[in-house]
Subunit: 288 residues, 2 copies
């Protein structure tokens, strides 16, 4: 079986490792806009061959693991090109636009939109991990529009990788994911920015930053090549969520300025309930 | 040697474990406003005896590990009570007010203000860890005001615990720590609040929240009993920093609304430099 990976980075490279382990007789083809990263993915043994444009027709499965704007640009052409039994899947963090782009395509049945809730703040093939998807959620959108045999193959592979499958409407996906992923990235970027611009004496940051700072600011290392296209595609949801976040910060500030510490205490007690929700997350994931 | 710990929680309990290991023939006395937690700290073997108010005079060292408002309330009375060779140390996250409170005390030389850059989002004696302070920074304020023999004893113990000592002016401490600790907590609390109030369907959060969300929202589990007094004492620094953070979020939102994605991309590239700073932190800490 020939699997082509367009964009062998953190996600594409980790999928390559998972394909190597779980798909019998797999031959892995890969491409990358950076020739240095393409070479690295060959050196690391993530892929066997370079994927040239002319080879798309020979692929049994095509994995689209590039920034969401480029994925959106390329998907229609790729669907046109693939052979009649090939499956194309994308793994981006937004799902509305990409599902809409192929809604009326004659080969819509050969496409599956997915979003693995897995990743790190690093990128590139060297960041690929063999167990990145183990015990992670894989969201599948509009599964009823994918050809049943191709869908079944994909579901089977994802389960073998150790993923827990969920179905979700693409519009609903983009709404929900804003709160639990996109907003976290923005709050982290802006935290990094605030600290860096006010705190000119960097050695003081070195000395005083504990694990709390490191964990809240970790996502600020994430690449804009991946995230700007996400912010662009999910602009409306992000605008609303960000407005609410800023409102809450302003409310905190107003209470602080008015010395209303009892009200702040009460707010935080309620927020502490996030603890129960986060335990729910880890319980859900480890029990499956 | 008799060591009294006022408030045997995460920090006090971890100091108890470190005292047991590194102070020869230590006898540990402890108190807690919660009788259940006091019992737990006895059951866990963190302390040997309950510390009654009348016993303060017998202590060689008194560790003040309670919320910063209560520490501020009690320190002057404790200094009055201790014998003439005892050392009192506080371990709170604000240093200006407590140093000011004892500035003119006749026994000022028997006090040392400290802030260990160590902790977790959990509290209480069950959260105590034997290696909580290993390879962590310990900030000492106004060391020139502490009696040299007592200071030397404290520095020696902290080094044995594995801490890396830094001296800092208390006002400067409160300014710096706002950026790298207090702001992280507020951004995390408000992120938790925003997600919880908009996202009524909690199961969707369970499914879609990855490690990015968990790490940015981790600090939102922190107890208001500890944090409200910190926000109160450090109000002015927090107000300024929060204003800057909100300004940056508004700027991000304005650029997003105006579709200025190139400018956002450039901003984020600059913020990515936090990576180098964070590596600096971990290098600094592991190299020592």
């Amino acid at each position: 079986m020939k699997v082509g990976i367009i964009g062998v980075g953190l996600i594409g490279g980790s999928l390559a490792l998972s394909a190597r382990e779980h798909i019998p007789d797999v031959e892995l083809y890969g491409s990358n806009r950076s020739s240095a990263n393409l070479k690295k993915s060959m050196d690391l043994g993530l892929i066997d061959h370079q994927l040239e444009d002319a080879m798309i027709q020979q692929m049994d499965v095509v994995l689209l693991t590039i920034p969401v704007d480029v994925a959106l640009d390329r998907l229609v052409d790729l669907l046109d090109e693939v052979n009649d039994n090939a499956l194309i899947m994308d793994f981006g963090s937004t799902k509305g636009a990409i599902c809409q782009a192929v809604a009326l395509h004659s080969k819509r049945g050969q496409f599956l939109a997915t979003h693995p809730i897995a990743g790190t703040e690093y990128s590139g093939p060297a960041a690929a991990l063999p167990d990145l998807f183990q015990d992670k959620i894989q969201i599948l959108c509009e599964t009823q529009k994918t050809r049943p045999d191709l869908l079944e193959w994909a579901q089977d592979w994802f389960k073998k990788i150790g993923m827990d499958l969920r179905e979700m409407d693409p519009i609903e996906h983009d709404h929900h994911i804003t709160y639990v992923s996109h907003l976290s990235h923005i709050s982290s970027y802006m935290l990094g920015k605030t600290v860096m611009e006010i705190e000119k004496d960097h050695s003081a940051i070195f000395d005083m930053a504990g694990s709390g700072f490191s964990s809240t600011v970790r996502l600020a290392k994430s690449s804009p090549h991946m995230w700007i296209p996400i912010f662009k595609q999910n602009k409306e949801n992000i605008r609303k969520t960000l407005t609410q976040y800023i409102h809450n910060l302003n409310q905190f500030k107003t209470l602080l300025e008015a010395d209303k510490f009892d009200a702040l205490h009460q707010h935080i007690l309620e927020i502490n309930d996030i603890s129960r929700i986060l335990e729910g997350i880890s319980n859900t994931k480890t029990n499956k």
